[in-house]
């Protein structure tokens, strides 16, 4: 998706290359194609294209990838509600906001 770029430097994504076993799962699952394998190690080739979906981390067998764990594929209204819920302690229903 080269025609759409979002805010640079915002995504929370960390790859521990030492722990990487080179299975290539992250390369397969990333919908933005930001990983590549070199010498049996995964590397991030397009960090700013990351949308923090978390597919790579979920499919890494050695937990070498860390992605923003906040569960937030939501619209602005949902995020506002989740900010409010942090204050009030009430749970947010994704589909009734």
């Amino acid at each position: 998706m080269k025609e759409f770029r979002y805010i640079d430097g915002a995504a929370i994504l960390k790859l521990n290359e030492e722990a990487c076993v080179g299975c290539g799962n992250c390369v397969t699952v990333c919908p933005h194609r930001i990983f590549a394998l070199h010498d049996k190690k995964a590397g991030i080739v397009d960090y700013d294209a990351c949308m923090e979906c978390g597919a790579c981390a979920n499919n890494c067998p050695v937990a070498a990838i860390y992605v923003n764990p906040d569960d937030g594929c939501g619209c602005a209204a949902y995020i506002i509600n989740s900010w409010i819920s942090k204050v009030t302690g009430k749970r947010v229903n994704m589909f009734n906001n």
Binding site: Y6, I12, C23, P31, Y78, I79, F95
Partner: protein
């Protein structure tokens, strides 16, 4: 069985060692299209689902591939309509009627859920191989490498889009880069517009009475004439803003300068706001026109920003960042617009 009806998308049953499996039609009928419209406009709410479990397409054997999907009817439809030249099993996970990507994001579409459906369907008695083809979008929720231990089947990620399934199968179950890359075409964006707008109805009907009441306030304390005339203008500005933020911004997304959605909405709202004050109501004074313009800009910026939730490329961290910048501007703009709107009749 008494009391049961056969779903309109089922055209027969395939006998298997584990009992009959419903065979689905691979073309969509009028009922499917009507349902699609209901789902796309939000009329169907969150209740557009089918029963989870095993289905099939064509005349599958024990060697036929098993394709996994969600039990949101639109996900299921988009898969089965690609299977007209394929004999395949379709394993539908119970994702509570949510699409593949969002259900995986909320972890209802998981390896555990797939394993449960594999066992429930007695899949190992039906097919001789041990492979499940998963939608790539399920990867957020499904850790494919854990499936083997949970149910004896291996998970292989197929393409992102069901439309690429035939090509994927022809390629020897290999996905190329385009199949693995998310897109956000003008068609895909346009399909999201109705739901974006329909989600605003509730707020819209809460705001409209308020606008009419505020519009009636003036030197005569309350003027019914002003309430109707100025009220309609204010509602017109609100509609313009929603069209700018929830329709034009999504459709024109890549061509509107900037990366942050609140700014894209702001720009679109700025232009549409200008058009609105030029086209409507010559009698309005400078203060009223300024108020209307600000109102359109603020609301369009917010509704434009809200579209981040529907795109396949915005990160949560990025959205939170831009919301921290956008919200004060939007809130301040809207507030100033309201103040100017109330003050204007006293000044004239």
């Amino acid at each position: 069985m008494p009391g049961y009806t056969v779903n309109p998308f089922v055209d027969g049953f395939q006998e298997t060692p584990a009992g009959p499996v419903p065979r689905v039609k691979t073309s969509l009928g009028p009922a499917d299209h009507l349902g699609t419209i209901r789902a796309r406009t939000g009329i169907a709410g969150n209740q557009y689902k089918i029963n989870p479990g095993l289905y099939c397409a064509g005349n599958p054997s024990s060697h036929s591939p098993v394709l996994v999907t969600a039990n949101y009817k639109l996900s299921f439809d988009s898969l089965r309509k690609e299977l007209s030249n394929l004999d395949a099993w379709i394993l539908v996970a119970d994702t509570r009627g949510i699409n593949v990507w969002c259900a995986a994001g909320k972890k209802t579409f998981s390896a555990d859920e797939i394993a449960l459906q594999v066992k429930r369907a007695k899949l190992s008695a039906i097919v001789s191989h041990r492979q499940l083809i998963l939608p790539q979008f399920a990867a957020i929720g499904v850790a494919a490498h854990t499936l083997q231990k949970k149910c004896g089947f291996n998970g292989v990620f197929g393409p992102l889009r069901a439309a690429d399934i035939p090509r994927f199968m022809k390629n020897g179950r290999q996905a190329d880069e385009p199949m693995r890359t998310v897109t956000f075409t003008v068609t895909e964006r346009s399909l999201l517009v109705p739901v974006e707008i329909c989600m605003l109805w509730k707020v819209f009907f809460l705001v409209v009475p308020g606008l009419f009441i505020l519009s009636g306030i003036g030197p005569d304390i309350f003027s019914f004439k002003a309430c109707v005339e100025r009220g309609l203008t204010a509602v017109g500005a609100t509609v313009t803003a929603i069209l700018a933020g929830s329709m034009l911004t999504p459709i024109l997304l890549p061509w509107i300068p900037g990366r942050q959605f609140w700014l894209k909405g702001l720009l679109t709202g700025g232009v549409m706001g200008l058009a609105f004050i030029f086209l409507v109501n010559d009698q309005a004074g400078v203060m009223e026109k300024g108020s209307l313009w600000l109102w359109v800009v603020a609301i369009a910026s917010y509704t434009g920003m809200n579209f981040t939730g529907a795109t396949p490329f915005t990160s949560l961290s990025g959205v939170e960042k831009e919301m921290q910048r956008g919200l004060p501007v939007q809130f301040g703009g809207a507030l100033l617009a309201i103040v100017l709107w109330i003050v204007a009749p006293f000044v004239n």
